[in-house]
Symmetry: C2
Subunit: 238 residues, 2 copies
DNA sequence: GTATCTTTACGTACAACTTACGTAAAGCAA
DNA sequence: TTGCTTTACGTAAGTTGTACGTAAAGATAC
């Protein structure tokens, strides 16, 4: 493919003209399924290299709007819970020459900046509503279990770490219902907490705490099939 | 003064050439003295208009380094406790035409961006070590008690609000010793907590909590003169 | 000098929350 | 039937937080 026809290169030309230079947005999109906390990653065209979804800010666009755009385009969701968690602004965040070589993007002709300041946002989304979609630079978009995330391009492993630490710190205030289906069991909610905290919890105490919070409504049905004693289904109350 | 000789305009020309466009840094510098929480503000040349100290990021400079530079230049301090707390990135953060008119800066010839994304940092500094210094755009740099801060330029009242909320949330983890002299009394530490929280605390319970934390070392001397019963002096332990 | 008031310094009682662990019912597997 | 795992609910002890009592030290008023 001629490099000027490469859709990724054309995208970078568009960005170079219309977006703010020296800045980008990186989105850590968290989902939860099969008792595993997951992030959405992209595989770059013609490579085995993965990265977080990202994007750029139009010159007159609100930063939060740009972040919404990034997450919407990869997930297909229109209502999002998004949170700005950190700015990654070191002069040398990663080895640029090496990273861009690994992406196999023929960007040598493009006027772009020598370094990038990245605004980190994390999103909490309902796994089952997401349709993962790659962008112009990538072949594939899919969920990865947090513990299995491979070595990523740029400093994206570090960004995921910081996002997870932020989520952990804010766990008690955050609307975790965003990460769960409408109906779920207390053991499932416990696995979610354990994945975020990275440590096991005592189920007896977890039950007590969740029921005492008054935020859960017990439904008459139980989840059948999966476990020994069928657990009740719950729903978050408005 | 000819506008091309205005040192502030010359500074903007320098910034326009060497710094990242569309971005700035705003610093909320907190100090504590006479039982009052204070912020350092600047009065713009030939006006009664005040703002936070701010600055720009050189194209190859780390964002944290730029923030240090901003705070160092206004305070004269070289070791700083600085914390990135929020990005202010709305497309319309404030009325630009009106704000720039109020600054009385003759910037019509300067190539600068239509909007600015500001990175908010707060600093906790030792009031008595600070030498407030105005910059090229300003006549005066001085401390203001938080409750007495006037209507500021840009969206800087909002930025102070958000900084204070962040500090409040992180109060228990933050090194508040940065805000205090080497030696202080428990009642002084209590006033500091009260200023940050914006609410009175029970002195009996505050004593218990501070002593139980194990972070304080009682000195043999007491503070004389100021109060009825002379309070003991304390120091933070390493 | 004595009485009074304010501020510090330390103490007690109780409520709220956390942690550790016990146990029976429900379902699966041998 | 026996044994194992998982859910659902309970109890006891420990820790933390809140409300408030009070005596000592110093300042102020008379």
């Amino acid at each position: 493919m001629n490099k000027y026809n490469h859709p990724g290169v054309q995208y970078f030309q568009h960005v170079s003209e219309h977006c703010i230079h020296y800045m980008s947005i990186d989105g850590v999109i968290f989902g939860f399924s099969e008792n595993q906390l997951k992030v959405l990653l992209l595989r770059w065209k013609g490579t085995d290299e993965w990265s977080l979804p990202g994007g750029f800010i139009y010159k007159l666009e609100s930063v939060d709007t740009a972040a919404e755009r990034v997450v919407q385009e990869r997930t297909g969701l229109d209502k999002l819970y998004l949170k700005q968690f950190h700015v990654f602004g070191d002069a040398n965040r990663y080895d640029q020459a090496d990273t861009w070589r690994r992406t196999k993007m023929p960007l040598d002709g493009i006027k772009w900046s020598e370094r990038t300041i990245s605004l980190g946002y994390y999103a909490l989304v309902n796994y089952s509503l997401v349709t993962p979609m790659p962008d112009l630079m990538t072949d594939e978009c899919r969920w990865w279990n947090i513990p299995e995330v491979p070595g990523l391009l740029f400093d994206h492993n570090h960004i995921i770490d910081v996002a997870l630490q932020s989520l952990r710190r804010e766990l008690s205030d955050q609307p975790l219902n965003q990460l769960l289906p409408d109906q779920f069991t207390i053991p499932e909610l416990q696995r979610l907490h354990e994945c975020i905290l990275g440590a096991p919890l005592d189920s007896r105490n977890f039950y007590k705490k969740m029921l005492a919070s008054g935020q859960l409504e017990r439904l008459p049905e139980r989840r059948s099939g999966t476990s020994h004693k069928a657990p009740y289904l719950y729903r978050f109350q408005p």
